[in-house]
């Protein structure tokens, strides 16, 4: 019953003409961003945050706009994956495995329609899951003290560094770099500057938006300069779009199974959408009989599985982000940055203090799903046209938008230079196969993580065993250790499929 009143409140916010307009505009913009080769949800949302902020919208409106962009980009990402074999971000990689072979075999339209429905199913499933699970989790979250929060942050970093990465040392290093950057600036407890090197610009710390735009958007520009935009303009033609009813019906089971897997992966803090789409693909392949299933050769179910998993994980990742303030993926980390910019503190109190924000968001997501289904199945041909934008126009554009966004936010040269430095770091780390998402997460959560540790120690008067004093924290520590070391044992059992080349 409470759920219905909450939903009614949400819809009363979401159905106002202006919010509705923002949701539709966000979906449209998001689908375009997702479809643009080389732009995915994380960098798309990242370059838009400073601009959305400068629009002067209130918290609910900006949140609705940006999450609509986020969902839209998740949908749109499959268009460039399928037609160009270019995933917009890591989770979309699994869609290329069967989507691109299908497109080459002349079934691009079928692949797009099927994946559109799979995205819809996954996202709807996850939104309903979010609706049911988030209030429960927010109630549990009230029992979290500083010791539990410290363990929870640790869990997020260790799952991100463990099951979601290729090399634990590199992922852990990236987390340390992010956390280390977060330490720069004034110390919350003593008010003394730390690690600023006497530079006045660093007294306030490093703005996470500068780091996000640098690592995601500017680094992408360098990647394209390095490759000279090669391999991005060749693509497959899309002829006519029909509804492959039989395969859609056959895929309902797949969608259901993969949505569940994706949602669970999304809810795990730190694991996120890459793990969701990967697990969904691999388990569906096993379910359909391993190598005999034809997965990897253009099997329609192989397009449905990762898309349902991916979009479901995207919604699932919102659960820990909203209830605990711990994002489950790169893009939700970017959304957390948005919340922090808007001065909304995620956590259990968000559900009681600002119910109109949470439920307005959930209602908007439900609406956005239907809008996106309409945009991505009957109207998909419009978005396919966007793929023809050549990289030598697109990437300079991305660069200029990033500069203006950061400049309008802070108005300082120093931040622009810092953004370029982060761009170079992002490029270098991409070459060395060091993940950059943990850096973002570290910068976002560093201060909170340290505060949790210090507050726990104040409570216990310096007794370190306090960190393991409750059932919840012991459980979180156990999962953190397990999540970090598990890959040593399962890596040879589950191999990540590699991207296909022509």
């Amino acid at each position: 019953m409470e759920l219905l009143t909450n939903l009614a409140l949400g819809f009363s916010v979401a159905l106002s003409p202006f919010t509705l307009f923002l949701a539709v505009a966000g979906c449209f913009l998001g689908t375009i961003i997702g479809a643009l080769p080389g732009l995915g949800p994380s960098n798309g949302v990242a370059i838009l945050i400073p601009l959305a902020f400068s629009l002067g919208l209130d918290a609910t409106s900006s949140l609705v706009l940006m999450t609509a962009v986020y969902y839209g980009a998740m949908y749109g990402g499959r268009i460039s994956s399928i037609l160009l074999n270019i995933p917009g971000d890591e989770p979309a990689l699994m869609t290329t495995l069967d989507g691109y072979p299908m497109a080459k075999a002349g079934r691009a339209g079928d692949a797009l329609v099927l994946s559109g429905f799979a995205s819809f199913f996954g996202a709807l499933f996850a939104t309903i899951g979010l609706m049911l699970l988030a209030p429960i989790l927010s109630r549990i979250a009230y029992q979290f003290g500083p010791a539990e929060y410290f363990a929870l942050y640790l869990l997020a970093f260790s799952t991100l560094g463990g099951i979601a990465s290729n090399n634990q040392a590199k992922a852990a290093l990236a987390s340390c770099i992010g956390l280390g950057i977060a330490m720069i600036g004034l110390d919350n407890q003593t008010g003394m500057p730390r690690l600023t090197g006497g530079n006045l610009h660093l007294m306030d710390g490093i703005d996470f938006l500068v780091a996000i735009v640098g690592l995601f958007a500017v680094a992408e520009v360098f990647i394209f300069i390095e490759s000279h935009g090669r391999g991005s303009s060749i693509g497959v033609k899309l002829d006519k779009v029909t509804l492959p009813v039989r395969e859609l019906v056959r895929g309902i089971g797949t969608m259901f199974r993969c949505s569940i897997i994706g949602f669970i992966a999304g809810v795990l803090p730190g694991a996120g959408a890459s793990l969701g789409s990967f697990l969904a693909y691999v388990s569906e392949k096993k379910w359909r009989g391993g190598e005999r299933s034809g997965f990897g050769t253009g099997e329609p179910q192989g397009v449905i599985a990762p898309e349902a998993g991916n979009n479901s994980a995207a919604g699932g990742a919102l659960v820990p982000m909203l209830t605990l303030g711990v994002p489950g993926s790169g893009t939700t980390a970017v959304l957390l940055a948005l919340l922090m910019t808007l001065n909304i503190t995620p956590g259990p109190t968000l559900f009681t203090d600002r119910p109109e924000v949470v439920w307005g968001l959930i209602a908007s997501l439900l609406i956005a799903n239907f809008v996106l289904l309409a945009m991505n199945v009957p109207l998909v041909k419009i978005f396919v046209k966007i793929l023809t934008v050549p990289p030598w126009i697109l990437l300079p554009g991305v660069m200029m938008v990033s500069f203006v966004g950061i400049f309008s936010l802070t108005g300082s040269y120093f931040d622009l230079l810092l953004m370029i430095v982060f761009g170079i770091i992002g490029w270098l780390f991409r070459k060395l196969d060091i993940p950059t998402v943990p850096i973002i997460l570290g910068i976002l959560l560093g201060k909170h993580m340290e505060d949790a540790l210090r507050r726990a120690m104040i409570l216990s008067d310096g007794d370190w065993t306090y960190l393991f004093s409750s059932g919840i924290s012991i459980g979180l520590w156990a999962f953190a250790v397990l999540g970090f070391i598990a890959p040593f044992f399962v890596r040879h059992l589950i191999r990540k499929p590699q991207a296909i080349t022509d």
Binding site: M183, E226, G397, M399
Partner: protein
């Protein structure tokens, strides 16, 4: 192999420098059991350990681009830095057109499309920023018009 090892060494040196910086942090009379140095020192320790692992167990060598591409990247960085310094004194339009054109040329070296991209992006983005988003951008240096 070599890149990872080299980077591992850089990481360890960086971690040492960070730890040294953390030890210099001034503490005030108000302090808590953990203090402001402990967490940064833990981070430096973990990072150094990661650097060590990278030296001992390096991944395969990434394929680095050739010298010419490094040249392109260096030019792009230089252009971006110049852009960061000129956007305020020279207004939005001129630096944007030049910077976008040069970046476009670095991706696809054809002069005419690159120039058109620069001019087009400069005008188009200015209109979007100024009138659709309402940002207070200066189109040209002050005192021109």
């Amino acid at each position: 192999m070599k890149s990872d090892r080299l980077f591992g060494v850089v990481v360890i040196l960086g971690a040492l420098a960070y730890a040294a910086g953390a030890l210099q942090i001034q503490t005030s009379f108000m302090s808590d059991p953990v203090g402001s140095k402990t967490f940064p020192l833990i981070l430096a320790g973990v990072a150094a350990l990661c650097g060590l692992v990278m030296i001992v167990r390096p991944d395969a060598e990434p394929d680095w681009p050739g010298l010419a591409t490094f040249g392109n990247l260096a030019i792009s960085v230089a252009v971006m830095v110049a852009y960061a310094y000129t956007i305020k004194p020279l207004g939005f339009m001129i630096p944007t057109a030049i910077c976008a054109a040069i970046l476009s040329y670095q991706i696809s070296p054809r002069a005419l499309p690159a120039t058109l991209t620069g001019v087009g992006l400069s005008i188009g983005l200015f209109l979007v920023f100024k009138y659709a988003l309402g940002l207070g951008l200066q189109p040209f240096p002050k005192g021109w018009f």
